[in-house]
Amino acid sequence: MTKRTVLDRQSIVVLCLLAAAAILVPVLNVAVDPGSPFHLSDHLVPLLGKYISFALLALSVDLIWGFCGILSLGHGAFFALGGYAMGMYLMRQIGPRGVYADPILPDFMVFLNWKELPWFWQGFDWFPFAMLMVLLVPGILAFVFGWFAFRSRVTGVYLSIITQAMTFALMLAFFRNDMGFGGNNGLTDFKDILGFPIQSSSTRIVLFVLSVAALAGGYLLCRWVVTSKFGKVLVAVRDAESRTRFLGYRVEHYKLAVFTLSAMLAGVAGALYVPQVGIINPSEFAPANSIEIVIWVAVGGRGTLAGPIIGALLVNAGKTWFTGMLPEFWLFALGGLFVFVTLLMPRGILGAAKDFWEWARQRMRSPAAPEPVSQAAE
């Protein structure tokens, strides 16, 4: 009991399922005959990859909301910044193959009559630097934002609202052409990544497998964090912030650390998302997107690490299905989901499943007893 167990039964199930996905999806796509009902068509691979990157994003939100009680309504911003960092690398890879065939400047800069690459685009042609930025840009923003917010003890709905204002401000900024990130259209028309053509099915399979690996890695990292004493302090902050403070913990440092870590995870999710969907634009910063992430977490079950993964996959699969079949009803369904989950399933699918499991076990143990055995305190 006192030994720290990073790998419990639930984690092993999650990791096995992820490993199965990483093996099955490529096999069903490549090895199974296209005529077979088990064949996974080419367009589904990046779609599934997108879901996986969303799952990582949901995990990052759960880490702060489920375990530390910080409800961020601006996590889409960190996701989008990670995505933009990746997009800038991919833009630089286009090189002279753009419409205007400028060897250095991306098309939109030529279009805006810019003569040279702005300073903040320097270095993004080098993959390791771009990957560093995927982590650092969201991380630094989260650190600066959190440093101000947590130090002055902005909590609860106030914090939620200013995170929303943050992503809203960023959206307005990125819509501007002179910000140098392609304005409205964002970054798109990517050609290749590390020399591999981005549209080819083999690249997409590799990207999918990498996304699954990143999700598994993110899961293990979160698991390691929440099972440590650090994780126990986070839960303590969530449940009784001032008690934690009077015990001598600097709550703001803990919040800042976990907020920054979470933002970096969201950045990685964004970087995986962009090459698979082929575009990043300012609408990713829209406040509505950030709130949607929260509902993925709530549906799956916050405060559990498997919950957000389940929630992100289910809600997004539902979204794809609805927007294909009944586009009118998607917003009704999503809105209804928000109300339903908060009112009737506050612990999400995993919580409900756990309750059901407990209930079933009780019934199994005492089938004769009509009343549940009262649990007297010893």
């Binding site: 409800l71 002055s152 809105g335």
Partner: protein, 529 residues
Amino acid sequence: MARLRSILQAFVLLTGMVSAATAGPYEDALPKFAADSYSDTEAAIGAVAGSGHPLALKLVETLRDGRLMIAGSQVYIRDADGKSVDAATGQAAEPAAGAKAVRLNNRVRRAIEAALGGMTLLSPDAGTRLDAARAVFRSRDAAALPTLEQAIAKESDGNLKGALESARAAILLNKADAPAPEKLAAIETLRARGDQDALALLSNLPAGTPTEVTEAAAKAAEGIRSRLALWNAVQNVWYGVSLGSVLLLAAIGLSITFGTMGVINMAHGEMVMIGAYTTFIVQELIRTQAPYLFGASLFIALPLAFLVAGLIGILIERTVIRFLYGRPLETLLATWGISLILQQGVRTIFGPTNREVGTPAWMSGALEIGGLSLTYNRVAIVIFAFSVFAILLLVLRYTSLGLFVRAVTQNRRMAGSMGIRTSRIDALAFGLGSGVAGIAGVALSQIDNVSPNLGQGYIIDSFMVVVFGGVGNLWGTLVGAMTLGIANKLLEPYAGAVLGKIVLLIAIILFIQRRPRGLFALKGRAVEA
């Protein structure tokens, strides 16, 4: 240009001298149109304008509209219906088959404008005279000077006389041979006029103007510039007050629900939207059933919007929110879900496009005060916002509902133990907040697009207002709304609309971190608990 003007002046002088003769300059000028060369046409315009002939005005107007026909040496005036008269006699006559319209270019058009200005300066209609004075002011055509002097002498209306005098000043300043004292007097006239046009005239004197005149003009221009800057600032403050009123309307209901219940109602914007759609429905009904009521449509819509939005608010409170008290973050998510459902519901019923909400006649037009232009619909919204604020203040201060709401805001537990049925107060306060959002929607339907997304545009701004002003304090909301509105409009000229807004959002984020409970925060132990 200078050459052209001198030719024109020569013609005017010439025609002015012979204007008394019977076989007049009008008839002499007609063949020049027939030649259809730009310079001839221009000269002819001057001649006709100075002729005083009864057909002269009609001829020049026809020329302007491109309907002056020529066939050989004959000139015909064709009206908009296609009927023609002989320009020389005024008798109805059809031009020959090969007739064509006299060609125009920009130079000719300017000559036409100047000529028309001169000819209409003496019109018996005051409006026409004013238009003419303005046309002459713009054209600065010295040809109009004699008529202008005549008009000034005759004019009795002070306002019109001013317009005519500034037109004369404009001409004099650009007339190379006008004596310096006259030019200085002209500068004085323009300085008194003091608008953008006067400034443009003063800062673009023709070359060869005497130094004393240029110096006086520069001084006058400086004076005008600083006065204009002042008016400009006042105008921006007005825009700010106007935006602040819109924010106040949108945020004030939110302030009540957030203040009393600590509930973040993300569907608040949709209540505004529902109010706007209520206005739309009322207007549709009036259009088909009782068009004579259109002027009163907004007044009919106000109570209805309050009721519709208020009832929906109470319904939301009773079915969803009351199960979530004490869990503000969950309330936030649930009301967001409700807002999605309401948006999609309206989209399904009314369609995704903007619906047309009309503006009653009494709300169109603008009030001009000095350098200010206040459109009536904005004035109405400012007055309306402040009235709503005052009424709410009175309701909260003097009614028992207000007393209970304030009691619950300050200390829910204590209010409950004093026998106030807090859950009923919650429902009523939520209904009140939503109803106020509904009437805000009636006002916003006048200045914004009525679409399912109407509410989304206001929700973040409203939260910023409430959070900035301090929760549970209507005065805080007022100050917050006005500060943000005015700051936004004052920043716009320097930073642009988008950047200004970003700057403001960042400022508020920093502000909340300095004062996490807003400008007018409640203090004390109750808040900490």
